[in-house]
Amino acid sequence: MNVVIALTITGILNLFGSIFSYRKITPLLSIIGLTTAIVFNSMYWNTNQSFFNHMMVVDNYAVAFGTVCMVLAACLIIFYNRFMGDNDHHLPEVLSVIVLSVDGAIVMVSYTNLLMLFLGVEILSISFYILAGLKKKDLGSNEAAIKYFLMGAFSTGFLLLGITLIYGATASFDLSVISEYVKLNSTSTNYLLLSGVLLILVGLLFKVAAAPFHFWTPDVYQGAPTIITAFFATVGKIASFGAFYRLFQMCFSPIVNEWSGVIMVVAIITMFIGNITALQQKNLKRMFAYSSIAHAGYMLLALLSHDYLGGNAILFYSIAYGISSMSAFIIIHIIQTQTGTDEAMGFAGLVHKNKTLAMITAISMLSLSGIPLTAGFFGKFYLFSSAIESGYVLLVCLAVINSFIGIYYYFKPVIESYFKDSITDDVIKLKSVETILLIFLSIATILLGIFPGLVPAI
């Protein structure tokens, strides 16, 4: 499969960047590699090919999610290079790890075998543990890495145990065999299978940061370097949801009644914990960590839908959420380097320092809170309507209440940047590449908010 091969080669080439002294061109190399992979990936559209002895199938779902992950990763690499590149001694290695983790994301969205799911999750997670601890001399960063690693390893155990139990029940790792088995035996409860499903559920709920498996998120998001946090919050979450939806929709939908209750309760708790705790956070990175928990809660709704609508909804939401949180975190990073604080008051008077940046902040916050004419609105709209079609009216009502709570804290940075006076009067100057990329992300947000049909149906 060309995409995986291209990404792996890019990763290895990057790795040798500092040894064979071509570290200067490694960012370019990564972008070229990712672009090639994106091109390869889009050529698989509508082909439905299977690879590696039917371990992976590249259907439209995989192509769509894979492209989203790779585009976001490419944006991230550009930002990383522009903001950190000059000071980072380990630039080639970091880029290599990022590219290889995207490899994991690709595997996670196109697997048809539980072993591949496990491999994908591990490739992604182990890269993330390393990335979280990038700032070797920073205590917070170290704390984030070790916490993430310990808890991640713990949850991986459950994932693996779940896979084992499912193998015990169905005698196969292959999703098609498992789904056949589940279909045939959906009338009575098979406890071995159900325990496996629930344990896999636990493992994946941890990855998407759903309550009560979310405790790592705020600490890790705050401790990790901000740009890397952007990577966790976007690519990590989208790939995990890609894997989540694929497994549960393909295999376990016949016994939806046996696990939908768990998802419902978890979704409700997640939304409330995420939104309510975010209200009191002063640190913006922490606030966005809770916001990403809340978003995971919304996205869990899509898992409950009975038909194809859920897949489209989760794809659209992923794109909307990915774009907006990417720009939100990047702006936090810019503010952080300029004012030295990552609290909301760092945004004070942003409009006087850099109008474009204030505008982009406003757009991405509006999108995250789901105000119409932004992509976030249609993301929520599709998610909620897919859940309503499946009959979860009460759940959607609670989700709507949560969206309202969310507006409060999303508007904090906007209010700060437009209506407060700044501490310093320094003008924030950005290089053209960053500005163009940020503006591009904002335009995409607006465009998708006006023409949601631009995202193709999968």
Binding site: S195, V202, P212, G261, V266, Q280, L309, F378, S385, F451
Partner: protein, 637 residues
Amino acid sequence: MTDLVWLVPLLPLIGFIINGLGFGKISKNTAAIIGCGSVFLSLIIVAGIFYEDLGRGGEAVQKTYFTWITAGNLSIDFSLLIDRLSIVMMLIVTGVGLLIHIYSVGYMHNDVGFGKFFAYMNLFMFSMLVLVLGANYVMLFIGWEGVGLCSYLLIGFWYKNREYTAAANKAFIMNRIGDLGFLLGLFLIFKTFGTSDFQRVFSSVQSFSSGDITITLITLFLFIGAMGKSAQIPLFTWLPDAMAGPTPVSALIHAATMVTAGIYMIARSNIMYALAPSTSEFVAVVGALTALMAGFIALTQTDIKKVLAYSTVSQLGYMFVALGLTAYSSAMFHVMTHAFFKALLFLGAGSVIHALSGEQNMRKMGGLRKHLPITFITMAIATLAIVGFPPFAGFFSKDEILTAAYSHSMFLFVILSLTSVLTVLYMFRFFFLTFFGEFRGTKYQIDHIHESPKSMTLPLLILMVLSAVGGGLGIPEALGGKHFLSEYFNHVFGGNTRIQSHEVSHFFEYGLMIISMVLIILIYQFTKQRYDKKVIGKSVEELKMSLWYKLSLNKFYVDELYDKIIVKPLNGMSNFFFNSIEKKVIDGAVNGSGQTVYFLSSMLKSLQSGNIGFYVLMMVIGIVAILFFSLINTITL
């Protein structure tokens, strides 16, 4: 060219973006070139489309670009419909629009908001083109709202004047009332047909019987929308106030294009309206009454633009009568000729106002024919066109509507004839007060009086030619002519089998023409005697007014009436709600729930202790809870 149709609305949009973003940064010349150029390119494409359509023989083409919104079974496409109705509307919008854009270059030259003005104008062009090109009711609605927004922005263009912004608000609110009706109609269409696509709606509506209650309701709701946008009773009071905007805006939006959106919409939905005879009846009666009332009010107005505004309302009434009588092609004919001569009248009035440094009161004008020769000639033609003197444009289109009314009902015919007489009266009054007699303004004005620059007079001359010969497209058979326009529209309206025939005897038509000509000449003499004088009668205050005069001058007290029965009670109610319910009940509830949430937030925050052992413990508790929950769940299943 037909493949390029997407460029037609897009080009003005690009113009808007450049002018809007670059406002204050790009020079006035560049802004003017971008503003006019984008419309000009659109016009070229539209002309190409028109030519290709002639070759194709009028077959409708629908271009679907992408699915705009999908939600469940509902799917709305971004698609454009090119048929002869939309082509004619596009030609009017881009053609007249281009002339007015060029005119604005001269008119607005000294304004600080020059670039902003062109940005808004281009946005208006975009919205209007989306309105006429959209292939479903939702696209039409988007354009409908877009033109409403631009109208609001442009009426309040000189936003520092409170009265102007109030007028803008009034226009916006009145339009919103109409839009509510439109939206209800739209929802009902979705509910009944499951789609909003014109072609699909119109093909499935054929299975309904005439007078079906659902269709009647839909058409009625849509007509409420049209009442707001096209200023009909009872929602007409915003249009005269909308004259607060710059004069080119009045010409483009409030005379030639936007206000005819309601007529376009009903003509577009002709199949539905023909199926709802009671709605059609209602449309005709409302149109006739509006025509009469507005004509009567126009008789006594002294503001040059207000006279024209009421005249527009009155002419729109004519068009609605035609629509109500299922004479759709006559209505479109009048839309076209009206666009020519009314745009010309407004632009001419703008030229006068420009020459007199902003004076709008006709009592302080007079004798301008010597000072503004080009404006005078063009206005003379426009006046003859609107009063319906042969062979100018208004004669043919009005004549068609009058004969249609005669063939249908005596009542409508009498009202329309009366309105015609009123039209002649107020137009000649307007004409003589402005251009004849002696100048009654200040010394300063007479010193600074000047003919307008070329960029303003050129559009006037072009529009004059169009007003003079535009009627040639629809010469009635009685005069041995050929009705090109109704043949042209045969592809659009021909499929509608329920259109009634409006045949009348040729003898009647001759009679009508002769009588109207004689009347016009008589009234010309009458008004000439009355107003072509050095001194105009007493001012309004000294005049001993008859009841009718008072009614006309005060616009039938409609504004006051609305103020009494709607605005005041609403204000009272909102005060009550604000003071008792909002402040106590709602604020209390909101603040209370806010505080509760905040309290919860601090509770939850303390859970996040940072202790990894605790985190793992919570995870384990979570897992146990999930397993236990599922166990119970499966047992009870």
